[in-house]
Structure formats: C-alpha cells, structure tokens
C-alpha cells in the first residue's frame, strides 16, 4: 500500500491543475491515470480558452454570456464567482509559459467563438488544449509529483461516508495496489464514448462518474449532452474546431447556400439547424472553408488543415467538408461544490466529470479549459486543506484482497456469445438514436429497456485474456461497465425532463417550460436502480 495526503485520479487539464495546487498547498500528492497526461482528451479542446481580459470585457459581461448559453439552468452565484477568477487562472497559464497568439503590438489576440458576445478566447493557433496540456504537464513535472501512468482505478475505498483512498490496477506490472489518501480527487473527464460516433478519445468512458455514482453521490443534469456541430462523419467523428467559423468558415447546404442565422448562435442551435436542414432534404450539410484560402488556413488553422487531410482525406482549401452533429461533451456530472466537494467526506470532483452548476443546460464555447483550470486549482487547494485537518482514517483492511478477488472472478476462458466491443457498438448506436440530439418519451423508454438487456449480456460477459500485463481486454470491460451504468442514469434523467432546454431537446416537449420550475435533474443510485429527483436552481 502507498500513502498520500491527496490522490488525484485522471491526468487531463483539471487533474494536473488540481495536483499542482494541492502540492503547492503543502500536501503529499500522487496522480493516477490510465493514459499518459499528454494523450488525454483535454488535447481535444482547440479553439481557445475564455477569460474576460479584453478592454471591452468584464466578469459581468462574461457571466451574461454563460447564463445565456446555460438556458436558465446555471447557478448564478457559481457563475459570478467563476467569472471573477477566470482572468487570474488564465494569466497563471500564461506566466507558466503558454505561448498565446499575439496581435499587433504584442498584446493577446482574441477570438470570438460560439455565442460569446465578445472576442474573449485566448488561443494557441488551433491547438489550444494541446499546448495548455503541455504547460500544465511542465508545471506538474516541476512540482515533482509522483505520476502513476497506466494505472486504472477500479474502486474507491469508503469508510463511514468518507473516502480514504482507491484501489488500482497497474497495467504495466499487472498487479493491484491500494493508495491510501485523506482526500481523493476525481478528474476523469467525460463519458461521451457511450455514444457512437463520438468526438472524444477512447478512454472517455465515465469512469469517475460511475465510481461516484456507485458510492452514492448524485449525478446532476446528465441529460445535458453537447453535440458538436462540426464533426466530419467521413473522419469518424473527427471534430473541426469552431475556430474555423471564427476565421470565416460557413455552414452551407447543397448549392453552397449558407444556412442563415448561425452567426453567434449556441452549439445546440447550430446542431438543430444542421439536423433540420438535413431532414428538409438539403442533400447534406457542409462546412465551407475555401474562402479562407490555403495560406491563411495554414497560418491560422494548421492542425485542422492537417487532420482533415489525413483523417478525412479532404483538402479544406478546395473541398467542402461534409459535417453533422456528433456527441461531444457532457455538461452534467458528479454533483460538486465550487471547491469540488461532494456528499462524501474527502471525495472531490473537478473538470468535465463534475457538475458545479456553472454551465446549466449548455457550456459556452471556449469555456471548457477555463473551467478545468479554475475548478482544478480550487479543488486541489480544498482537498489539501481537508487532508491537513482531517482525522487519520485507516485504509480498510482486506479491501484490496476483496477487490483482487472481484477482478479475478471476471477472468474466465468460458465462451460468451457477446463481446465487449459488440455491446459497446450497440450501446453507442442506441444512445445516438434514442438519447441523442432529439429525444422523445417512446425512444427513451426503448433506450431504457435496451440498456437493461445490454446490462444482462454484460453481466454474463467474461474477460478471456489471462495475461495480467497490459490486459486491455479487462480495461475495456471495466470501462464498458461504467458506460452502461452512466448511460442508464442519463436516460432516466432525460426521460424525467419533460421540456426542451439547453442541450436537451425533446420532440414531444419542444419548448422550454418555466412553469414546471427551473430545476436540476438529480440521479442517485437506490438499490441498484437510478432514482430521479429535482433540485430547484437557486436564484441570486
């Protein structure tokens, strides 16, 4: 067993930032991650990182845009607090070495992306997340924080409503170990790999949401799943950054006619407009970047140019790029306070796996990275403070052995009719069709039933690979289990919200309905079943 004050699970932007903050607050920290920090899904964020730093901008104006995108479901106090910290959090990144693009005169250049009312997104070409991740990893290395890369956390260690560490499988050694900690931070990212196609990386499977949910923590606003309007089906959900629109690109239908009214619209509106146009027999919808010209594309969107060529086989300087909405990021997640605290003592959550009430029904474009660094830092500090004052708690004896037995029991040479890959493929298609961009009661009911059936198949599934080292079959199996559980909770939440709001669109309840009360959806696991409640949004 290894012992730390704070254990961080997940090495994306939120996890790294939390680990750095906890270490700087004096805690003994370790970070566990199933994939190396520089391969995490945080690198997907491309267009920019919001901060109200411009002369025409203010925390209040920024808050106004967040509230607008959140469609009435943001917690205004959280938003206000966040927008006042965003500037410092982004400047911290700059001081640590982020080479943001500069305008003439050497000041920060800013992009206006999505429904931001101002040019507010600092950016690094079209690979902002990729470069911010490098800077965070640099600072993480500077702090000399032990990194357990290729470690998969299989369970939380709980003791009297307190989290006292985790059990984890070392993929490289093939052996299990326990990590005792006074505080555990979940920073495991999103879950949209449960949709296929999907813009996200293979490991974005809701592991942290599932750990918290199984431990009795509520999941909030799960039905709010953002689709990305500019995903390229030919590139299997390859996402094209919204910066492409900021640089002059247009969404067009057959004949090259632009779809009107998309300038400055929120993501969900753009997605619906594209879906609508496709249904109206437009013959398809395309992203037209040809007017930008090759030279400017190379200068301003180098990664986009490269990826579209390599992954989708198209030349954006000449070709129209077929696009459609693809599942992108969750907005909801583990119920967490603004310092990441959950309903379990010593258990924290931050970043994309958490839901603090900041984003309400939809995240403002350019906010994901800001959210990760603001809440990452705060959560790291809070967890370190908690670790300092918390009474010592013993790691439950025998828990590691129980966990080893549980995993051993999964491994069997016995043939099953299904494979994890096939169950995943069925789940992905199901979620996309029935719990996707547009939902209705019948579809969600069918989704619920089919997820039950898939869970039955999953219960009979066994891991055939007996070799312990880098047993990715076992990892996929555990990830699939997490996705099935979170999908079930998501579908329950989506069925319960009988209105259309933010990213949640119901064809049977097409309008936002404030009369039923503006509330968060709260899903808790009660006797193995998701139980849905609501919690009113607190006005200022």
């Amino acid at each position: 067993m290894q012992e730390f004050d704070v254990v961080v699970v997940g090495a994306g932007a939120a996890g790294l930032r939390a680990a750095i903050a906890a270490k700087q607050a004096g805690a003994k920290v370790a970070l566990l991650t199933k994939v190396h920090p520089l391969r995490t899904n945080s690198g997907l964020a491309q267009a920019g990182i919001n901060a109200p730093l411009g002369p025409d901008d203010s925390p209040e104006a920024y808050a106004g845009d967040i509230l607008q995108a959140g469609d009435g479901l943001c917690d205004p106090a959280v938003v206000q607090n966040f927008t006042h910290q965003a500037g410092d959090a982004v400047m911290w990144l700059e001081r640590a070495g982020t080479p943001f693009n500069r305008a003439a005169g050497g000041r920060f250049d800013r992009r206006r992306i999505g429904s931001n009312s101002r040019a507010r997104s600092l950016y690094v070409d079209d690979r902002t997340g990729h470069v911010v991740m490098q800077v965070l990893y640099e600072q993480f290395q500077r702090e000399r924080i032990p990194l357990f890369a290729d470690w998969f956390v299989t369970s939380l260690a709980l003791e009297a409503n307190r989290c006292v560490g985790v059990n984890a499988l070392g993929l490289r050694s093939g052996s299990m170990d326990s990590f005792a900690a006074k505080a555990v931070i979940l920073a495991t990212g999103g879950f949209t790999r449960m949709y296929l196609p999907s813009t996200v990386s293979m490991g974005t499977t809701g592991d942290g949401q599932n750990l918290a949910y199984q431990a009795g923590v509520s999941l909030i606003d799960l039905e709010m799943v953002q689709f990305h309007p500019l995903a390229c089906p030919g590139g299997k959900g390859l996402m094209i950054t919204e910066a492409a629109l900021a640089e002059g690109g247009q969404i067009v239908v057959a004949g090259g006619q632009p779809i009107a009214g998309l300038q400055g619209a929120t993501r969900d509106k753009i997605c619906l407009a594209i879906a609508q146009a496709s249904r109206n027999g437009a013959g398809g919808v395309w992203l037209d970047l040809t007017m930008i010209g090759r030279q400017k594309l190379h200068q301003r969107l180098p990664q986009t140019l490269d990826l579209i060529a390599k992954v989708a086989g198209l030349d954006p300087a000449k070709d129209l790029i077929p696009i459609g909405p693809v599942a992108h990021r969750p907005v909801g997640g583990i119920e967490a306070g603004t310092s990441g605290q959950t309903s379990i003592g010593g258990l924290y959550a931050c970043g994309e796996c958490a839901c603090t009430g900041l984003n309400g029904g939809g995240r403002l474009a350019g906010n994901i990275l800001t959210e990760m660094v603001v809440f990452g830092a705060r959560t790291g500090e809070a967890a370190a403070a908690y670790a300092k004052s918390a009474p010592a708690a013993a790691f439950p004896a025998g828990r590691l052995d129980e966990e080893k037995k549980r995993l051993d029991a999964l491994i069997s040479a016995e043939k099953t009719e299904y494979t994890a890959g096939r169950i995943h493929a069925e789940l992905g298609a199901l979620m996309d069709a029935k719990a996707g961009l547009l939902r209705d009661a019948a579809g969600l009911q069918a989704a619920r039933d089919q997820i039950h059936a898939l869970k039955d198949k999953y219960a009979r599934l066994r891991v055939k690979n007996q070799s312990p080292i880098y047993n990715y079959e076992l990892v996929s199996y555990l990830e699939l289990g997490a996705m099935l559980n979170v999908a079930e909770a998501l579908v329950a939440a989506a069925a319960a919200r009988k209105e259309s709001r933010g990213a949640h669109r119901r064809s049977d309840f097409p309008a936002r309905d404030d009369r039923i009360g503006i509330s968060h959806t709260v899903v808790r696991l009660v006797q193995g079943e998701p139980q849905v409640d609501t919690r009113p949004v607190v006005a200022l």
Binding site: H36, R39, G43, D109, V131, G313
Partner: protein, 320 residues
C-alpha cells in the same frame, strides 16, 4: 472488405522471443488500422497489446510501423493496403524497447529523457503580475511551432544515433528544450545549455536531418538542435569535447587555410585530459606506422590561406 494482418508479438519479460500472429478481419471500407486492431482484440485475440487514445490523429499515442513505414494507426486507412494483396505488417516503431506486442516503453524512450532537460519555464520576472507582457507574435510563433509537437516519437524513430546509443537524449526531447530556449519569458538559458552540453546531449546529434524528414509537424528538430549549439557558442558554453572540436577546427582553418588533423584530435580531447589523450595513442601509433600520421608541428599554411582567413572573418562579422 477483407484484410490480412501480420502483427508483431512479444510476451513481456527480458527472455521472451518475438514472433508474429496473423489475422484475417472483415472491415468497413473506411476502416483504419486501429479499427482493425480493436476488432482483432475484441473478436479474435484478447491478448493482443497495442496503444491508442484520441482515434483522430492528434495525440500521438498509437504510433506503429505499418508495412515498414511509421505512422499513426488511427490515421492510416486499411483499404489501399488491403488492395495490394498479401499481409499488412504491423510492428512497433524502431529504437524503442518493447514491453508487450505493439506496446512500447515510452518512459525510457521519451518521458524520462524529457525529464532531464529541465522541462519547465523559469520565468524571468519581467511581467508584472496582472499586466500583459507585450511579445511580438513572430517570437511566440516559434514557441508555438515547437509546442505543436505531439510526442509521436517519429523523429526518434528515424534518428540514426539512437540505434547505436539508446542513451542519447534524442531529437524529441531536444525539441522540448528548444521550446524553452526560444521563449523570451524564460531566464534559464545558460543553465539549460549546460544541461544540454552534457554527454548524450545535443552534441551527440550527427545532424543527419532524419528527424526533420520524419517530423509530421514541420518542427524541424535537426535545425533546432543546430540552433541550440550555436546558442551555446554565443553564451561561451564551449568546454565540451565537441565544442572544443569545433573551435579547433575553425582555428586551424583560419590560421593555415586547412585542417590540422593531429592538433584537432589533441585539442578536441582537451590538453589537460590525460586519460583522453592516452586513448588517442594507439590510433596515432597505427597512423605513424602506415605513414599517415598528421604530425601537428609539421602542419604548414596552404597557398591562399590569407584569402580563406578573410572569408572566415567576413562570415563571422555577418553572424554578429
């Protein structure tokens, strides 16, 4: 479409022998190599080990050799390879120790090497706490270009030094160093150059330009290495053997118009480096025996030496 794969296999552990497994898979027309590997693992052989993460060509985790050419298994389409008939060979990239099958050891290959070059910014304190530091975008563009590196390892896989000396820090880690050396906000230039001039550092690069040829991001690692060496000279950080070699080389040509090889060997080792000089003796003795010894005190000026000296002067003035 049906495609046949021949995949490199190796069990973990030092003594295990490498082999190959062959698989036939039914795939959709737009399948990539990683789609095939995922399908093989799911349906045919759960023990097959390989890495992958983003699936869309930007994270660098799934680098392998496909039919002898290094690339990303998530970006290489199967159809054109299958159309050629025969088996599609998938192997780990070169120069990297294999842990299991296609899973290579990125720790010793890259992450540990980056760790030694002091991979974080040391702020120069010029910026006020809340003010923006005004920096020309051209300067930042160079930093951004270095940081577009996605640690795919293709430069290291093409490197001609790593196969003979795995301890060489390699072009990818040196590119990381260059990211700090061209960042005006960093103040640790001299310290960085001293780290880089250590054995196995930047002077071990033989500038074969393979790294720059292999880099998919046009980062030009080799050019960056050369630039860092120049930087070291400008900072007077020249006490390393290769730096002494360069100095001696330049001095000889400046003074006599050509190369004094005997002096070059001695000065490169260092006049006080007795151990190093002793090592030269057998080679020198052999050369003398064959009548090929470049005796330093017999070295004389070649005709036109003055002209050559002037060319050097001019070039140096231009440099300044």
């Amino acid at each position: 479409m049906q495609a046949n794969f021949s995949v490199y296999r190796k069990e973990p552990g030092a003594g295990s022998k490498a082999g190959r497994s062959t698989y036939t898979v039914e795939l959709p027309e737009d399948a990539t190599v990683i789609d095939a590997l995922l399908k093989i693992r799911d349906e045919q052989d759960p023990t097959l080990g390989f890495r992958g993460s983003c699936l869309h060509g930007y994270c660098g985790d799934c680098t392998v050799r496909i039919n002898g050419k290094a690339g990303f298994s998530c970006a290489v389409k199967v159809a054109p390879l299958a159309a050629k008939g025969g088996e599609i060979a998938v192997e780990p990239i070169r120069n990297m120790p294999v842990i299991k099958d296609l899973i290579s050891d990125w720790d010793t290959f890259l992450w540990d090497k980056i760790d030694v070059i002091k991979p974080w910014l040391e702020p120069n304190g010029a910026a006020s706490l809340d003010g923006e530091e005004l920096i020309d975008d051209k300067v930042m563009a160079k930093v951004r270009q270095a940081m577009s590196c996605f640690y795919c390892g293709l430069c290291d896989e093409g490197c001609t030094v790593l196969p003979v000396d795995f301890k060489f820090v390699g072009p990818a880690a040196l590119t990381k160093a260059s990211r700090f050396l061209c960042d005006p906000r960093d103040h640790a230039t001299a310290e960085r150059l001293r780290i880089l001039e250590r054995p196995k550092g930047m002077w071990d690069c033989v500038h074969c330009f393979e790294a720059s040829e292999h880099c998919p991001r046009e980062i030009a690692p080799t050019e960056r290495i050369i630039e860092m060496r120049d930087m070291a000279f400008k900072h007077g950080i020249t006490n390393e053997k290769v730096a002494r070699h360069h100095h001696s080389f330049a001095n000889s040509v400046r003074n006599s118009g050509w190369l004094d090889e005997g002096r070059l060997a001695i000065e490169s080792e260092g006049l006080t480096n007795i151990k190093g000089l002793m090592k030269l003796l057998p080679t020198a003795a052999k050369a003398v025996a064959r009548g090929k010894a470049p005796i330093p005190f017999l070295h004389h000026k070649r005709p036109g030496a003055d002209k050559i000296a002037r060319i050097i002067e001019k070039a140096e003035a231009k440099e300044k």
